[in-house]
């Protein structure tokens, strides 16, 4: 029997997310601004003003991403995390773990697994980004950034990427969890919005 390929690998899952965001929000020329914008690398499509941007970089735990599918009987979080870990879906596992109230003391195993996921994801993203001494810089004109599909956290991180601060300094100044910074940075790199030097 031929092997069936699955998207269980974290790198593939991430890539799928990035692709999904890249393909989002098609341009629709707005009134009084009919020109389509052609941007660097062809990654950025035009978006008229006031067209709501999708937020593919949203990393807050939510039920729509990697989370539990609604079911009649709620699954034990530890089992769900373990299932996801078995598939290599660390992001999904972490999302489930983050929903567990850490103060309850009831789910110490889930909390521990969540920490494990975070460590693994951090290692993966560190490896993807490479040396923290590299300096990220924005490839797209400031005026054109708004046509991207980003959220305010990505917008904030982009504002720190001024071509002077290194990846390490962006992590230090962002006051966001390192994992989130690296995830956003990786997605911006994948979309060709920023580059490293």
């Amino acid at each position: 029997m031929a092997e069936r390929s699955t998207l269980t690998n974290e790198a593939e899952l991430e890539a799928a997310r990035v692709m999904s965001s890249r393909e989002s929000s098609p341009p629709a020329p707005s009134e009084g601004r009919g020109t389509l914008l052609t941007l660097v690398n062809g990654h950025v499509s035009s978006r008229p003003p006031n067209v709501p941007a999708r937020l593919p970089l949203e990393t807050r735990p939510d039920s729509s991403r990697g989370g539990s599918a609604p079911s009649a009987r709620p699954m034990d979080p530890v089992s769900e995390i373990q299932d996801r870990l078995a598939m290599g879906d660390y992001t999904g596992a972490l999302t489930v773990a983050d929903r567990v109230p850490s103060s309850s003391g009831q789910y110490t195993e889930a909390v521990a697994l969540g920490m494990h996921c975070r460590t693994i994801l951090l290692q993966m993203h560190r490896a993807k980004v490479g040396s923290f001494d590299q300096v990220p810089f924005v490839l797209i004109e400031r005026q054109q950034l708004r046509w991207l599909s980003l959220d305010h956290r990505a917008g904030f991180l982009l504002s720190l990427m001024d071509g002077r601060l290194s990846v390490q300094e962006v992590v230090d100044t962002a006051n966001m969890p390192e994992l989130e910074v690296l995830r956003v940075l990786y997605e911006l790199l994948s979309q060709g919005v920023v580059a490293l030097r």
């Binding site: 709501p52 941007a53 937020l55 949203e58 040396s131 001494d133 400031r142 005026q143 950034l145 708004r146 991207l148 980003l150 959220d151 305010h152 956290r153 990505a154 917008g155 904030f156 982009l158 504002s159 720190l160 002077r164 601060l165 300094e169 230090d172 100044t173 962002a174 006051n175």
Partner: protein
């Protein structure tokens, strides 16, 4: 030629600057980012990492509780003082009372003294200078506001010591600015120094005399008025405009506020040279419907001027009052020097020109002249061939409290030191057998308005009607600035004395400990930089070897020799990768040698086949 190098540091409330005299020319030293000023900000990240300068500023709002700014407002001041109360009321970081009635700042649950925080900024300036000059720097001249008292000056000295710098002289900021202006020009002038910086405003009137005498004849200011107040007005306007448009208060989001702060400051600076500028902050916030919103607004120069009119007017009011107090008329001011970044604002330039009825001098750089002046003084202090450019003077008058709560001056302000003065006082009550001598510093005729330096009691006086017992009081300031006060009963010859030593609120042991900590931190930082250089070299060599591997393997495959060398090379690369991962300097250095040998060998093998 000067035998050793002395840097001049302008330790500002919001920004600091370092300069040195090179080949007879005073030069400002840029930091690694190429900026000639460095924000006087210190922060500690969640990971416990210390940030100083621009990087601390970039996260000042998102990490507000753990970012210290304007520490200068607190240095050398007592916990219960009104100035400290005011400063605390406007600070986002936590402060507590220290063991010596001083101020301590809490960052990530660790307490720091104010000189310790200032030392971090001074250490950064030292590192900037050392990186530029390529040699260690041990001595500095540091500037302080003219109104700083002895305790504040001592606290600044202590900060230098903690930073590993011997502060060979503390000089007044307006004096340094005037020195930079008058250097090599042999002037005799009365100048006004209008200093509008990021956090404070100062106006000083100086007399530049021959023989290196720069007298501060009047100084006043507002320690809570600066460019940041103008930034705040711009932020307010942007927040209001956004709220009108989207119904969302950007102040509720720290990331948005951080971006607004950066953008407002940038816009303000740009409007000094252009008529209008655009603030463009894409994805500033997400709406309730998860819709990303953008802020895009044009700010014009007239709008900025309108937003800041009252602030500019306040500085002019202070100038007016200062001249009136000093009984000076604007006609007597022969030159006006503009200091501080805010003086680039055309409206301010105009307001100053209108008030003083003369065009301000273009002979000084507003951001750099104070540090340049300090470097000139530093150079003169170590270069024997140079004439002394500044005499050491008492920054404030010294005296004692007399009947009615008045302050009797014995040593006037701007007296050159060392010096000593005597005065005879009498008893104020019938049969008075003891007198209390309260030693004070300041310019106000009412004692309570001045700073108490110390007190002592002279007992055993002869019982006599009031006014008959004569007590001679002597003030002496030695070359190290230590003040001794002696009171002597001229009838009996009995005497008592006190030595007044300025204190920053830190003990010697505390300073030593802080010095060790600062030294360790610098060592760690230097070592980390060394590791980084070694790591990059190792990574470069690994990349080069890995690039050559396929070619070398192909060549070796065609011969009976060299297979073992390939295995060894792989082992060298693997060990080097581990060393890179561990960031172990000794191991990295060792592996770099092996990598370099392997790379040479590989290159040789490939070259032979070409």
């Amino acid at each position: 030629m000067a035998s050793e190098k002395v840097i001049g540091i302008d330790l500002g409330t919001t920004n600091s600057c370092v300069a040195i005299v090179e080949n007879g020319t005073p030069t400002v030293i840029p930091n690694r980012g190429g900026y000639k000023t460095t924000p006087s900000m210190v922060a500690v990240t969640e990971a416990g990492k210390r940030l100083v300068g621009h990087i601390a500023k970039r996260q000042a709002i998102t990490n507000a509780e753990n970012t210290v700014y304007a520490a200068k407002r607190l240095i050398g001041r007592k916990w219960h003082s009104a100035q400290v109360r005011n400063a605390i009321a406007t600070s986002s970081y936590r402060t507590v009372e220290g063991p010596h009635n001083d101020v301590r700042i809490v960052l990530r649950e660790k307490e720091y003294s104010v000189p310790e925080i200032s030392a971090m900024v001074l250490q950064e300036m030292r590192v900037i200078a050392e990186d530029y000059l390529g040699e260690p720097i041990a001595k500095a001249v540091v500037t302080v506001p003219a109104y700083f008292n002895d305790n504040q000056r001592q606290a600044t000295r202590d900060a230098g010591e903690i930073a590993g710098l011997e502060v060979i002289r503390i000089i007044n900021e307006p004096t340094a600015a005037a020195l930079s202006y008058g250097y090599g020009r042999n002037l005799e002038k009365t100048v006004a120094v209008y200093d509008f910086g990021g956090g404070t405003f100062d106006i000083s009137i100086l007399e530049i005399g021959q023989n290196g005498v720069f007298k501060v004849i009047a100084t006043a200011g507002d320690t809570f008025l600066g460019g940041e107040d103008i930034d705040a007005r711009v932020i307010d306007w942007l927040v209001q405009e956004f709220k009108k448009e989207h119904g969302i208060d950007l102040r509720q989001d720290r990331m948005a506020l951080q971006r607004l702060k950066d953008a407002a400051e940038k816009a303000k600076c740009e409007l000094s040279s252009v008529r209008e500028t655009e603030v463009n902050l894409p994805f500033i916030i997400s709406s309730g419907r998860n819709e990303a919103l953008h802020l895009q607004k044009v700010i014009t120069r007239p709008l900025l001027e309108q937003l800041s009119t009252d602030l500019v007017e306040r500085t002019i009011d202070i100038c007016r009052q200062t001249l009136a107090d000093a009984e000076l008329h604007t006609d007597e001011i022969e030159e006006v020097l503009l200091v501080g970044g805010m003086t680039r604002m055309p409206r301010i330039h105009l307001a100053v020109a209108e008030f003083f009825r003369r065009e301000p001098s273009k002979g000084v750089h507003p951001d750099e002249c104070v540090a340049l002046g300090a470097s000139i003084q530093g150079y003169a202090l170590v270069d024997e061939s140079q004439e002394m450019v500044l005499l050491d003077v008492t920054p404030h008058a010294l005296g004692i409290v007399t009947q009615g709560g008045y302050f009797e001056v014995l040593i006037p302000q701007n007296t050159t030191v060392p010096t000593h003065r005597q005065k005879i006082f009498t008893t104020s009550r019938e049969n008075q057998t003891a007198v209390k001598i309260l030693v004070m510093q300041g310019e106000h005729e009412l004692a309570e308005q001045n700073e108490l330096l110390g007190e002592f009691v002279l007992t055993g006086l002869r019982r006599a009607p009031k006014g008959q017992v004569e007590i001679e009081v002597t003030f002496e300031i030695n070359a190290d600035g230590i003040v001794s006060v002696r009171a002597k009963d001229l009838d009996t010859g009995l005497e008592q004395s006190i030595q007044v030593t300025a204190t920053s609120g830190l003990t010697r042991d505390e300073i030593s400990n802080m010095m060790r900590n600062a030294g360790d931190h610098l060592l760690e930082r230097r070592s980390s930089e060394e590791v980084e250089v070694a790591k990059q070299e190792a990574e470069r060599l690994i990349g080069e070897i890995e690039r050559l591997f396929p070619q070398v393997e192909q060549i070796v495959a065609q011969s009976d020799f060299g297979r073992e060398a390939i295995e060894k090379a792989r082992a060298v690369v693997d060990r080097a990768k581990i060393a890179v991962e561990k960031r172990d300097l000794a191991s990295l250095k060792e592996q770099i040698e092996g990598l370099a040998r392997t790379q040479r060998m590989f290159k040789g093998v490939v070259a032979k086949t070409l």
